[in-house]
């Protein structure tokens, strides 16, 4: 079946460096993608989303890139800070207003910030 996954389960970066977290998806019909951040023991927080008619979207210190040709999604975090330590996971689904029940979630990448 269709699935969403992550390339790396753990990513360790130095404080102040940029981080890139990757996500591969296999459902070519998906046209909406979300990145979530989940701190230990807490619920996921919405970070940024992107629609399939875009290939880049920027937020505050974060950028999401979408490559539909290879079905790849990435989250770039600029100048990582200790507070960025968390598990990051992607989700993909239809934009057609069907609700979040259409979302498929990846397993997550644990981002560790080294001092």
């Amino acid at each position: 079946g269709e699935s969403v996954g992550l390339h790396l389960p753990t990513l360790s970066v130095q404080e102040g460096d940029n981080s890139i977290i990757n996500c591969a998806y296999s459902n070519s019909a998906s046209d909406y993608f979300i990145w979530y951040k989940q701190e230990s023991g807490k619920g996921p927080q919405f970070i940024i989303d992107i629609r399939s008619n875009m290939d880049k979207r920027q937020g505050q210190r974060v950028t999401v890139l979408l490559n539909k040709t290879v079905k790849h999604l990435s989250l770039q975090i600029a100048a990582t800070q200790p507070g960025d330590s968390a598990v990051y996971f992607c989700a993909e689904g239809p934009i057609s207003g069907g609700g979040a029940d259409g979302l498929t979630f990846g397993k997550g990448t644990h981002l560790i910030i080294q001092p």
Binding site: G93, A100, D101
Partner: protein
């Protein structure tokens, strides 16, 4: 602004005991509501979703049930817990017609 409340944060229950987890949403009307389970090292698994009062859709066969007695209240229940019911349970909402899910803080359930 919209907020979602989920409680309790942690719960330890004996096998065979009942369960009731509650979730409420504020600041929005007629939300879609969801219950997910998150196992360690695995993605979120959708358990139930609801598009309105009394309307529940179940995604997987299981020992749990859900109810929506009010527009912004969603309850996850079990009559008799199993060891395999242990996990991290998340409530979420989305706007009517929206796709992104907004999550509560989660409940860590340990069945002993």
């Amino acid at each position: 602004s919209q907020t979602i409340h989920q409680w309790p944060a942690t719960l330890v229950q004996p096998v065979g005991s009942p369960l009731s987890l509650e979730c409420t949403v504020e600041g929005t009307s007629n939300p879609n509501l969801y219950w997910y389970r998150q196992a360690a090292g695995r993605g979120l698994q959708l358990l139930f979703y609801s598009v309105g009062i009394g309307q529940i859709s179940s995604e997987v066969p299981q020992n749990l049930s859900a109810s929506r007695p009010q527009d912004r209240q969603f309850i996850l229940s079990s009559k008799k817990l199993l060891l395999s019911d242990s996990g991290f349970y998340l409530c979420a909402w989305s706007s009517w017609g929206g796709t992104e899910a907004f999550f509560g803080q989660g409940t860590r359930l340990t069945v002993v």
